[in-house]
């Protein structure tokens, strides 16, 4: 009896492994499959872009390509790739999530961000506000968010990609206001002034988070809280999401406010080196990402409310994107690595807002 049990389990195990092997990618010249692991708001953009790329690739090489998409919170998507999701390319909300794949799983080369133009960010966005219709509290800029009568909705920066951009936009705005010129940061002549400005910025950001009644874990949850539950006076979110919702805003009783100054948010893309080399899809994956920089790719990005990098396309869609002053994460926080160690790690500045 005991023996037969052992055989049964061995046979079961064998069947399972054969099944799993059969599912893996088959290689032949006439067709190829790519898996693009992305974050939530890019759904519509990539739906259309994939269609265009298929036609482009078929014309160029005669090969039929199938592109599968996976969407979710940027951080969770990054973790899924680390844990073995077989992505050929990742198109995530922030460079940090791509770097995490490189650091935790070694699937991507170290200097990945220099491999494609513009820091591997083919399109950009910024952070703006949604307010209640008629803007009853007259919320115009970041300064209004610290008013005690204003209730602010933004997700938890520890769990949400966009929430980190939101946080850094507040931080950068406060620094810029104090310093006037962001190039003073890192210049030893101004060290004292910068330290004082940072203390003020910390106070400013803390004051905004005191007005946050709910810390949702992801961007979609925050939107739900604000739009469906009717909680809060202002929602901080991606410009592209806000503009995309533009035509339904009236129905929902909402209004767009884009502040005068904000952060240049750079969603980044990369090939997952180890995966494409194993599957033999490097060439097509590379072409796919480069296609994002082509005129078609840039047009589609602009159409889906991402700010294009191409000057030509930018001029064409000028009216769509408010002209505002944009600072970068490198200027205000010294890049993602620094931003995480100083602001978001356990015990960092964000955690300090909630201690005691």
């Amino acid at each position: 009896m005991h023996h037969s049990m052992r055989y049964i389990s061995i046979i079961g195990f064998l069947i399972l492994s054969i099944g799993l092997t059969a599912c893996s990618n088959n290689r032949d010249g006439a067709s190829a499959t790519l898996l693009n692991v992305s974050y939530d708001p890019t759904r519509e953009l990539y739906q259309e872009l994939n269609r265009e790329f298929k036609v482009y690739w078929k014309d160029k090489t005669g090969q039929t390509v199938t592109i599968r998409m996976s969407h979710g919170g940027s951080g969770s998507q990054s973790r899924a790739v680390i844990d073995g999701l077989d992505a050929d390319v990742v198109t995530l909300a922030l460079a940090h999530d791509v770097t995490a794949i490189q650091q935790n799983a070694g699937l991507i080369e170290e200097y990945w961000q220099n491999r494609l133009p513009e820091n591997s960010a083919p399109y950009t966005s910024t952070i703006g506000f949604l307010v209640r219709k008629g803007n009853p509290l007259n919320i115009q800029d970041w300064d209004d968010l610290i008013r005690p009568d204003v209730s602010v909705i933004t997700p938890n920066p520890k769990t949400s990609g966009v929430a980190r951009w939101n946080y850094l936009a507040m931080w950068g705005y406060a620094l810029q206001k104090e310093l006037g010129d962001l190039s003073k940061i890192g210049n030893p002549d101004y060290a004292g002034e910068v330290a004082m400005a940072e203390a003020k910025a910390k106070e400013f950001v803390a004051a905004i988070y005191r007005n946050v009644p709910v810390l949702d874990s992801a961007a979609r949850g925050a939107t739900n809280t604000f739009v469906q539950r009717g909680i809060g006076d202002v929602l901080i979110n991606w410009e592209n999401e806000i503009l995309l919702a533009g035509f339904t805003l009236d129905v929902d009783g909402l209004e767009i406010v884009i502040p005068q100054t904000s952060i240049l948010a750079e969603p980044t893309v990369s090939i997952v080196d180890k995966n494409v080399d194993r599957k033999g899809t490097r060439e097509i994956a590379q072409a796919y990402l480069e296609f994002l920089y082509s005129e078609t790719g840039q047009e589609l990005a602009a159409k889906h409310y991402y700010r294009p990098r191409s000057e030509v396309v930018a001029i064409k869609y000028e009216e769509r994107f408010p002209q505002i002053q944009l600072f970068t994460i490198d200027e205000v926080a010294g890049g993602w690595h620094n931003a995480n160690t100083v602001h978001f790690r356990d015990g960092g500045i964000f955690d300090q807002f909630y201690q005691n």
Binding site: M1, M5, I82, K158, D216, I231, D346
Partner: protein, 287 residues
């Protein structure tokens, strides 16, 4: 083959063999099944924490934020399980003892929290209990809030634990012989005495089992709670959320440390409840 021979030798049913055949196969399957689903994954969890060293482990679980989230998780789960034990008993009582219209419908409703995706329960609850919801609106007039406070967490945990107590107590109540109560009454017991001395001791073991299951379920719940909790650090941040937060920061060891603490605490609580059960049985057998 060995076991077949033993059966042949012992004509009288003795220590080793059972009248029911298939012990080897079913036991082997049980071990395999439990290993694949429970023992190996959880063992891996414990093993993973040994890689971080005792000091780092201790530091990460004694962090005030972790401690307050554990307190909240276990505290709220305990309150929810007590509420479930009390009100679940009443629901089970009504469903077993009385006949009324739509009884079958209400009976089926009890299982709904099992079937619903927890996120749906969470969103449904927050819709009702938030400050603009149909209940939350009036509660706010009384000067307090349900959604985004610990009360909201308790409500969510009560909802998802409800079926356990009802479904464990129901059969015990059904098995209860009516005659016993009649005897008690004829011997001059008051209604309260009958309940306390006759009915309650009979259903108490299943009530305790239901309580333990509701408690265990509540400790691990994530999906429904995060919608209604507000998730403010030190205030309404449950331990499972803190695990997710640590994972989002790629702090695998920190996340595992909390998981192991929860695992051990939950195991001890369940073991303790089982010991009470065992002690109860022995005590009542001796009587």
């Amino acid at each position: 083959m060995n076991s077949l021979l033993t059966v042949g030798k012992n004509i009288l049913p003795a220590k080793r063999s059972s009248v029911i055949p298939g012990f080897g196969l079913t036991m082997g399957f049980t071990l395999f099944y439990m290993s694949m689903l429970v023992l190996i994954p959880l063992g891996g969890l414990v093993l993973f924490t040994t890689s971080m060293g005792w000091e780092a482990f201790w530091q990460s679980i004694t962090d005030p934020r972790v401690l307050s989230s554990l307190r909240l998780s276990f505290g709220a789960s305990f309150i929810a399980a007590i509420l479930n034990a009390f009100f679940g008993l009443i629901v089970a009582w009504v469903l077993v003892r009385y006949t009324f219209p739509f009884k079958k419908v209400i009976d089926a409703l009890v299982d709904l929290p099992f079937a619903l995706p927890t996120a749906v329960s969470g969103i449904a609850l927050v819709t009702i209990y938030s400050q603009n919801g149909i209940v939350g609106r009036y509660v706010e007039l009384l000067g307090f809030q349900i959604a985004f406070t610990w009360i909201g967490i308790v409500i969510a945990l009560t909802l998802i634990g409800l079926p356990f107590v009802v479904r464990t107590v129901q059969p015990a109540l059904e098995d209860l012989e009516k005659e016993l109560e009649e005897v008690a009454a004829s011997l001059g017991a008051t209604r309260w005495q009958t309940f306390k001395r006759v009915i309650f001791p009979a259903i108490q073991p299943s009530l305790l089992t239901g309580f333990a299951m509701a408690l265990a379920r509540a400790i691990g719940e994530y999906g429904s709670v995060i919608f209604i909790a507000g998730n403010m650090p030190y205030k309404t941040e449950i331990a499972p959320l803190l695990i997710v937060i640590k994972l989002e920061q790629f702090d695998y060891t920190g996340a595992t440390a909390i998981a192991v603490v929860m695992l051990i605490a939950a195991f001890l609580i369940l073991l303790f409840i089982n010991l009470i059960q065992w002690w109860n049985r022995r005590y009542s057998d001796e009587n």
